[in-house]
Symmetry: C2
Subunit: 223 residues, 2 copies
DNA sequence: AGTTTCTCGATAGATTTTTCTCGATAATGG
DNA sequence: CCATTATCGAGAAAAATCTATCGAGAAACT
């Protein structure tokens, strides 16, 4: 089909389709569950049924992540899980910083099984003096003013951003200026960052938008 | 291209591509911001620049949502905003129920500007007696046992699910059995529901997976 | 042992989504 | 008034993604 001079451009280093990438965590969860039930072998058909995905798609996704299976048998549950975990970078946990200990930030700080997902929050910051002090799981909340100093000292590379939208860009700048190269952004705003920095927006309202527009459509049609 | 007997099947009633649907809320946010600055007219180029999207894509998205603009001028900011809001169903706010007043549920209950996004949480439920009573914004937390009764009485159609994964399916069943037809699910598990029920999963770990695998790839390559 | 059945892996086909190109239109500035 | 420029709208092309098909291997059953 496409015989330009240089195909295989996109598949440079981590050139996995993003939709695939977004499905991998779901596979991990299913595998953990099935492994917990003592299932040694697992097939794409099975995984697909659990998640409502097409088996062929599952197979393709797993292949892209580097998994290999055997005909009739499927994949070894444990091995497949480790392959995915390794691919996602979840086997060696990265330490992370969280800025903005409000409603959402507190919820994230309180979420225990985060290190299962490759991230451990080791420090938090807030500009509000009332938020300071030790928090859940012994994570300390520091005053925002100490962010540059501590960030440099601790060499944290992942930043979680849960401040109001107005403050997001300036906090983001502060993070990137002090060594953060990957940002998980919960503020509903597009951040502008240096070229080498990775930003992933957790856009809750995108999901809500899909939900409510589908609902609106269903109500128009249905009754 | 496709001259089957019945084309225009997919474009039945709400046949907008889902990626488009997911971008619409972002356009709303930008428009709100720009309108706040007194901007009467706005172009796709401008919106695209704010969000890092391709202008053509913005134009196509807006067209799909039913917006019309004028050459050289662009769109009327206010009118465009209302068009999108109307398309998303965010102009008439739906009342919603939240089940699971834990870390995440509390954060959502505490989020003031939800009604700007078409949803108002009017009741919450939890199986833990300690969580009962009045909560932020006067939302009452009821015991889980009263869910069927109150759900039927209040005729709520949107359910927000923030219970642990193990409990998610049973709570979901309870919701759908009592009139809920749209579920915003935060539990990391695939729900099975009757055919007419809409489920949107807010899969936080999908985003985190993309982030960490990109970071892992960058670290492998870069340094 | 032979047959059946289930599954992976690869390839090709279909569909969806994004990007590009073009002409028409309206404001702006000489 | 006319050239210029910015913009929408529509349609085509390109790219990405998803789905279907087929062959071969491995286990289970007869
Ligand atoms: N709570 C939710 O359910 C929810 C849902 C969707 C999106 N969000 C988004 O998440 C972000 C946080 O929401 P929230 O409800 O937790 O808000 P919040 O107001 O409860 O918390 C924000 C926190 O950030 C702190 N902060 C403000 N400016 C700061 C600065 N410059 N440096 C450091 N800390 C600063 C505040 O002191 C506060 O503790 C917002 O952008 C919001 O739009 C929240
Ligand atoms: N907190 C986070 O940052 C976070 C992040 C990602 C995903 N999640 C997911 O969101 C969900 C909630 O997380 P959380 O941290 O708020 O958990 P949590 O344990 O703090 O809260 C769960 C709440 O649900 C209630 N509950 C349990 N079973 C119930 C039942 N059958 N009926 C009614 N209520 C019941 C509990 O009493 C508790 O109040 C989980 O599925 C979790 O995996 C949370």
């Amino acid at each position: 089909m496409q015989n330009r001079t240089d195909t295989t451009r996109t598949i440079g280093e981590h050139g996995i389709p993003e939709p695939t990438l977004r499905r991998l965590p779901a596979y991990c969860q299913v595998l953990r569950r099935l492994a917990g039930r003592g299932l040694k072998q697992v097939s794409c058909t099975r995984i697909g049924r659990e998640l409502g995905f097409d088996p062929t798609q599952v197979r393709k996704d797993l292949a892209l992540a580097g998994a290999v299976g055997r005909p009739k048998v499927g994949y070894c549950t444990e091995e497949l899980y480790r392959t995915l975990e390794n691919f996602l970078g979840w086997n060696n946990v990265e330490e992370a910083v969280l800025v903005g200990v409000g409603h959402l930030g507190t919820a994230l700080l309180g979420y225990t099984p985060f290190d299962r997902y490759g991230v451990r929050i080791v420090a938090a910051f807030d500009s509000d003096p009332e938020k300071l002090g030790p928090h859940a799981h012994g994570v300390q909340v520091f005053p925002q003013t100490r962010l540059p100093e501590l960030l440099r000292r601790m060499k944290l590379r992942i930043g979680i951003l849960t401040v109001p939208a107005e403050a997001a860009q300036s906090v983001c700048d502060l993070m990137t200026a002090n060594g953060v190269i990957a940002i998980w952004n919960f503020a509903p705003i597009a951040l502008s960052v240096p070229a080498n920095v990775i930003v992933q927006n957790e856009d809750l309202f995108a999901t809500l938008g899909v939900l409510s527009s589908k609902l609106a459509a269903a109500l128009r049609t249905g009754s």
